[in-house]
């Protein structure tokens, strides 16, 4: 139904006499077929998180490319509800864009679990390239079908292991450790294969649970370890970078198709810039984050894929068997 976009789009010449903000793209935007619209974008993270910064970047780009006609109003920190709520509101059309974690979406689209293949990517850049390639696009398609359209990925920092008293230098060190892990099957599977006892505590309780010893450690990223001051209660940060943490930018399929081709193009391009910005910025922060944690008194060590060979094999066998797409994805990531 992208054929009938022209009939619903607004007349471009309406704004001909208006003063248009100058944009990097010059004044080309005035000749484009664009609606004057403020989109609503919702996500779950705080305003200092990479995803929020990327959403702001998206807004900047969108305004610049549309000559100020299109912009984004951001609703951070789950203001409009949980991830389930946001997906539903995108389906209903009351939110225009939502950033939803692959961890949540994998409960409705099981194929997305392949993104949590341990040690699948050497760097964030690798994961980003995968996301822009054929298989990344095919994954996005799997989410669609209930009125949703998935536009692009947005990556956060990779996963590391934070432990209170026990340094993790090999998988067997995790044996019997109570680790706080986001309750999602592939994550739980990986930790169980190391002999750890995954526990799904709510995030606000994690600090005191770690301090008092309800849990012995957690699966986290460096960003959250710094913001939540976990260094005050945990001694060790093992930078395993064992998994990536993508979110997916969802929009309402019909509303998107109803936009003019020009508007769609500008949105997609702006998202590409925002997504790339997130990966580049986050990758450049890695060393600084490690240093910050070391300065706060944590023992920061690195641990590569080689020690987890057995766990990786188990994971690949289990998840490759689940679907053809997952099999191809895991194979592509390993090569």
């Amino acid at each position: 139904s992208s054929d009938d976009t022209d009939s619903t789009a607004e007349k471009p010449d309406e704004d001909a006499g208006e003063k248009v903000e100058t944009s990097v793209a010059g004044d080309a935007s005035t000749e484009l077929d664009l609606p004057t619209k403020t989109f609503k974008l919702a996500h779950i993270t705080a305003t200092d998180h990479m995803w929020h910064l990327a959403a702001e970047k998206f807004n900047e780009e969108l305004q610049a490319r549309s000559g100020g006609k299109m912009k984004v109003e951001i609703y951070p920190a789950s203001q409009l509800g949980t991830e389930a709520d946001m997906v539903q509101q995108v389906e209903a059309g009351s939110i225009d864009f939502a950033l939803i974690t692959a961890a949540y979406l994998s409960a409705r689209t099981p194929d997305l679990a392949a993104w949590f293949t341990p040690y699948a990517f050497n760097s964030l850049q690798d994961a980003y390239e995968m996301s822009q390639g054929e298989l990344g696009k095919e994954m996005l398609k799997q989410i669609e079908g209930t009125g949703l359209k998935s536009l692009d990925y947005l990556f956060a920092g990779q996963r590391v292991m934070i432990t209170k008293d026990k340094e993790v230098t090999k998988p067997s060190d995790l044996k019997g450790l109570k680790m706080r892990v986001t309750p999602s099957p592939p994550l739980t599977f990986f930790y169980q294969s190391t002999g750890a006892a995954p526990e799904a505590l709510p995030l606000p309780e994690v600090y005191s649970a770690l301090q008092t010893g309800v849990i012995d450690g957690m699966d986290m990223d460096l960003d959250a370890t710094i913001t939540n001051k976990y260094s005050e209660v945990a001694k060790y940060a093992t930078v395993t970078n064992h998994m990536v943490w993508p979110s997916i930018i969802l929009t309402n399929e019909k509303a998107f198709n109803d936009l003019s081709a020009d508007a769609q193009k500008i949105i997609t391009e702006s998202l590409v810039v925002a997504s790339k910005y997130a990966v580049d910025t986050r990758a450049s922060q890695e060393e600084d984050f490690k240093k910050q944690l070391a300065d706060q008194g944590m023992t920061v060590t690195e641990l590569g894929a080689d020690v987890y060979a057995e766990e990786i094999q188990k994971f690949d066998a289990e998840y490759s068997a689940k679907s053809d797409l997952m099999k191809r994805f895991i194979e592509a990531a390993r090569n």
Binding site: E73, Y75, Q79, L80, G81, T82, A84, D85, Q88, Q89, E91, A92, G93, S94, L201, P202, L203, P204, E205, Y207, S208, A209, Q211, T212, G213, V214, E232, V233
Partner: protein, 426 residues
């Protein structure tokens, strides 16, 4: 449109429709008036996910524990224990009421539940010993506000889940303020005692003291286990409620032998229905808050507030005054659920400790139970103790004033609140 909505809101409240329903109805009306019909599609899920919060599980469990302890004969033993300790002073039974309330507060988490339990026990006893009934009722009512300040606490749990603040840290932060309130009330009573010549009871013999202590110890196992268990990392603050239930059953069955297992289904039902009065409010207040967020009211409020003041101290004063007014009209938990999402961005912007802030607003809204015209504490005690509403309001007034002054001290000396959690490294 906004004024029309507010007018309908007030009309629905005055009509006497349950507050929870009013919040839901006004949200739906607003969506319809503003042509936001598609938000209705998302409303049922939004209602569901408003309860998708692990911290809220503590509400039914602490309520169940209260039910079990009450059936198991805990109240009378706590009162008896407080009585042998301090009953022989002038105004003894008045002190006993406060102290027994403090003990009971370490087990119960709700001021209303505590006011209901204590007014049945204490008011007749005090009246028999020559106190005026309205005085007995007002002391019982005033000391019931200690229930949610000393842990465990229902309102802290709800604040903790709404603001993503550690419930364990909030619990620890309530200990000192709770004790301060108890001591201040004792001070007020002793001051009144000089003027009014209160009666006193016989001093208990050592044998009676020992016997009463022995009887109360199993009950005090509950707060001890909860605090030790949280600090030792055996369970989280939420889970402590489940463990407390288990101990309450053991104590009621094997120590006091008053717990009738046949009554358990009845207790479970009453636990659920009492829980639902809170959770229904949470559900409806949540969709109401969603409407507010959709209209970007929190952002507007933050901007306009920051243009008035950037001082946390002025902000806290304004919040305290505003909440005192809100507390006169709205149930504490309903007000909390509506206001916390709106106020939290300001708390962050002004660099106020969320634990300190939580204790302040929770105490303030608990005081709302004592303030007319809408004060559930007032309603409960006036009906249970059979004191006219107006009379009770008059006699509890000095306690409200004192409580608010104490609240200002807690606001401006944050260490009174934060000392314990800081000491424990929380």
């Amino acid at each position: 449109m906004t004024f029309l909505t507010i007018a309908i809101f007030i009309l629905l409240l005055i009509m006497g429709i349950p507050i929870a329903m009013v919040l839901g109805i006004i949200t739906i009306i607003y969506f319809l008036l503003n042509g936001q019909v598609m938000l209705l599609d998302s409303t049922p899920l939004r209602m569901y996910s408003s309860l998708e919060n692990f911290g809220l599980l503590a509400i039914p469990l602490f309520m169940l524990m209260g039910e079990i302890m009450n059936e198991g004969g805990i109240t009378t033993r706590l009162v008896q224990f407080a009585r042998v300790l301090i009953g022989h002073f002038k105004g003894g039974l008045a002190y006993v009421t406060v102290v027994a309330n403090m003990f009971l507060a370490s087990i119960l988490g709700s001021a209303n539940a505590q006011a209901a339990m204590m007014s049945k026990v204490m008011v007749p006893q005090m009246e028999k010993e020559g106190y005026k009934r309205e005085f007995a009722a007002s002391i019982t009512l005033a000391s019931s506000i200690i229930a949610p300040i000393i842990p465990p606490s229902m309102i802290f749990i709800i604040y903790g889940t709404l603001s993503s603040t550690s419930i364990g840290a909030l619990f620890m932060a309530g200990i000192v303020p709770g004790i301060i309130y108890g001591l201040v009330f004792i001070g007020v009573i002793s001051f009144m005692g000089y003027k009014q010549n209160f009666p006193k009871s016989e001093r208990a013999t050592l044998k009676v003291i020992l016997k009463s202590t022995f009887q109360v110890l199993p009950a005090l196992l509950i707060p001890i286990t909860v605090v030790v268990g949280i600090l030792k990392g055996i369970f989280t603050a939420t889970e402590s409620a489940a463990v407390a239930c288990l101990i309450a059953i053991i104590v009621g069955l094997f120590f006091y032998r008053e717990l009738d297992l046949k009554k358990i289904p009845k207790m479970l039902i009453s636990t659920v229905t009492n829980t639902a009065t809170v959770t229904y409010l949470i559900i409806m207040a949540n969709i109401f808050g969603w409407m507010i967020a959709f209209e970007r009211i929190p952002q507007l409020l933050v901007d306009s507030m920051l243009s008035i003041t950037e001082s946390p101290w002025v902000f806290l004063l304004l919040v305290n005054i505003a909440l005192l007014v809100v507390g006169m009209l709205l149930d504490g938990i309903a007000a909390l659920i509506i206001l916390v999402p709106v106020l939290m961005p300001l708390v962050v912007a002004l660099n106020i400790d969320p634990v300190h802030f939580g204790v302040i607003i929770c105490i303030n809204l608990t005081l709302g139970l004592l303030t007319p015209p809408v004060g559930t504490g007032l309603f409960i005690v006036s009906s249970m103790a059979d004191v006219k509403f107006e009379t009770l309001v008059k006699s509890v007034f000095p306690f409200i004033v004192i409580s608010f002054i104490v609240l200002l001290f807690l606001t401006y000396i944050p260490d009174l609140v934060l000392f314990v959690p800081k000491m424990l490294g929380m």
